[in-house]
């Protein structure tokens, strides 16, 4: 089984988000970058599938050299090799096109992405890859088993779950449930040591422009101070929600 896990390099979930003074770009000073949490479920799942079926796990990231520590971490967790497409991931179509190129030049049975990245939350790259390469696509995937060349999956839909099947190769937009939070693999010392010598190939980005860009950013307006209600005065809260906030 030859598995590709696409990894976004994103600010840690605890990060406070700040922008440059002209509001045109995200201020990365002092921000710790991590493997996108949705991708982390996919990475652990890929490693578990390799344990069951044999094969290889490759991780790929579209990013600048600053994302290499995140790729090394993926190698330390257990991926076999890494590819970095050198460029600034400014638009989902650009990222999808470049990832599709890597996928079409290799022979992957399974391409796993997170259903979205927690920075720009476009949520578009998995579906775009499926469209560009005309591959089966299962989004919001919460469970996956492989039997031969067939995959059986569970996916979240509004108002329930859908159980689906597809042949390989296949593109997955994954989320928690692919593996549980408690199953997530973390790098051990041996993993960290061997990650240093695992292959990390850098490939050139073949195109330069996407179809959209971020022009400016702003933070949500500050909230008014919280109106406190004494415990025991729940009636007052109900009145406030009805008469002042008008939400009940």
């Amino acid at each position: 089984m030859n598995i590709l896990v696409c990894i976004s390099n994103v600010p840690d979930t605890t990060s406070k988000i700040e922008f440059t003074s002209d509001s045109t770009s995200f201020l990365t000073n002092g921000v710790q970058f991590i493997i996108n949490p949705y991708d982390e479920f996919g990475l652990t799942k890929a490693i578990k599938l390799r344990e069951q079926h044999g094969g290889k796990v490759t991780v790929v990231n579209f990013g600048e050299s600053t994302s290499e520590p995140t790729l090394r971490k993926a190698l330390a967790i257990g991926a076999d090799e890494a590819i970095r497409i050198d460029g600034a991931p400014t638009d989902s179509f650009l990222v999808a096109k470049e990832l599709s190129k890597v996928i079409s030049e290799n022979n992957f049975d399974l391409i796993i992405l997170g259903r979205e990245s927690i920075d720009y939350n476009g949520g578009a790259v998995p579906a775009m890859i499926a469209e560009l390469l005309d591959l089966p696509f299962v989004n919001a995937c919460t469970g996956l088993t492989i039997e031969g060349t067939e995959a059986k999956m569970e996916r979240e839909i509004e108002g329930g779950k859908e159980f689906v099947s597809s042949s390989l190769p296949l593109v997955i937009g994954g989320q928690k449930g692919l593996v549980e939070e408690s199953d997530l693999l973390i790098p051990n010392m041996r993993g960290i040591m061997t990650a240093r010598t695992k292959p990390l190939a850098v490939v050139e980005c073949s195109s330069s422009s996407g179809k959209s860009s971020s022009v400016s950013f702003e933070k949500p307006a500050a909230k008014q101070a919280c109106k406190m209600v004494e415990a025991g005065q729940e009636k007052e809260l109900v009145t406030l929600l009805h008469k002042e906030a008008k939400v009940i």
Partner: protein, 321 residues
């Protein structure tokens, strides 16, 4: 030129979000001085004429049935009609379905894709539109560099308005689409619960509830208010509640009118997923809980005392209103 909007349905019924994106699409079309075309897919048991009440100038019904997982067929049908209607803007709701087919439609139409939008485009050429970014921690102005744009509107971001159109046209078109490459085995519907994405009120609880057996009062409160139930990440991680209820940065992002957080401290990751709620109430024993800095109303107190009293007060309120 036209604005095409996907009037999503579930089991033959239009979703609340469908009227929201129709209102939005009507306003976008008005701003661009063009017409608004609504597309329905599959068998619709609702009267499609209702779409004209929310501003559709034309309704195209595609009778083809697609399984929820058939994103290939759905996106192909949508793109075909959008192209034949000369769409330069296609609008979907940023639901699981919208997010799954929107990007495919964009690739087919050689359009850009902008998701999580919260307002109508402020400029049309090039198109500039406000969207949520950094999982609710910021907003972004996104610009399209293509002639066509597919927009996915963030649920509960736009007020539903009636815009009656008496001269709406109705058409039915059979689409030729390729066979799907993903097959549906079966669908398991969540039992009678209100879906989190559509809920106007959400009652959420965290580790402060001490155990999964204590959720009865949360469910009772939710039932009383016709609300959805949600939970914090630790609670879904330890398995007290299903993952589908996890709201926050790495779970679902929601934007109800009222969000009541019981025994949730309000970590930055949790707040990111819920701070688009119009009104937030925090109930927590710890007066220093960060949630009180983000909430509109707060009660410092023991959930096991406050929530039952709140239930009683809401029962009284409901019987007198």
């Amino acid at each position: 030129m036209s604005v095409v909007v996907f009037a999503e349905s579930w089991n033959g019924t239009f979703k609340k979000g469908t009227f929201e994106i129709l209102t939005y699409a009507h306003d976008v079309a008005k701003k661009m001085d063009t017409k608004c075309v609504a597309i329905t897919i599959g068998e619709i048991s609702d009267d499609v004429k209702v779409l004209a009440n929310y501003g559709a100038d034309k309704v195209v019904s595609i009778p083809n049935q697609f399984d929820a997982c058939d994103n290939k067929g759905l996106s192909s049908a949508l793109a075909q009609i959008a192209d034949s209607e000369g769409a330069n803007i296609v609008i979907l709701s940023n639901t699981n379905t919208g997010k799954t087919i929107g990007p495919r439609v964009a690739v087919k139409m050689d359009a850009s894709f902008i998701s999580n939008t919260v307002d109508v485009p402020s400029e049309s050429s090039p198109l500039l539109v406000k969207k949520k970014s950094f999982s609710g921690k910021a907003f972004e102005m996104a610009q399209s560099h293509a002639d066509k744009t597919v927009i996915a509107l963030s649920p509960n971001a736009y007020n539903i308005m009636q815009n009656n159109n008496d001269s709406c046209d109705f058409a039915t078109i059979d689409c030729q689409v390729e066979n799907t490459n993903v097959s549906s085995i079966n669908v398991e519907k969540a039992s009678g619960k209100i879906s989190l994405a559509e809920a106007e009120i959400v009652i959420s609880a965290g580790r402060g509830l001490k155990g999964p057996d204590n959720w009865g009062m949360i469910e009772e409160l939710a039932d009383l208010l016709s609300a959805g139930t949600a939970c914090s990440k630790p609670v879904s991680d330890i398995g007290w509640r299903p993952h589908s209820e996890h709201v926050g940065q790495t779970g679902k992002a929601i934007a109800p009118n009222l969000y009541i957080a019981v025994g949730i401290s309000g970590a930055i990751q949790h707040l990111a997923g819920v701070n688009s709620s119009k009104v937030m109430v925090a109930i927590n024993t710890d007066p220093e809980a960060p949630f009180f800095k983000a909430a509109d109303y707060g009660i410092v107190g023991d959930a096991f005392e406050v929530v039952p009293r709140l239930i009683e007060e809401i029962k009284q309120f409901k019987s007198s209103n």
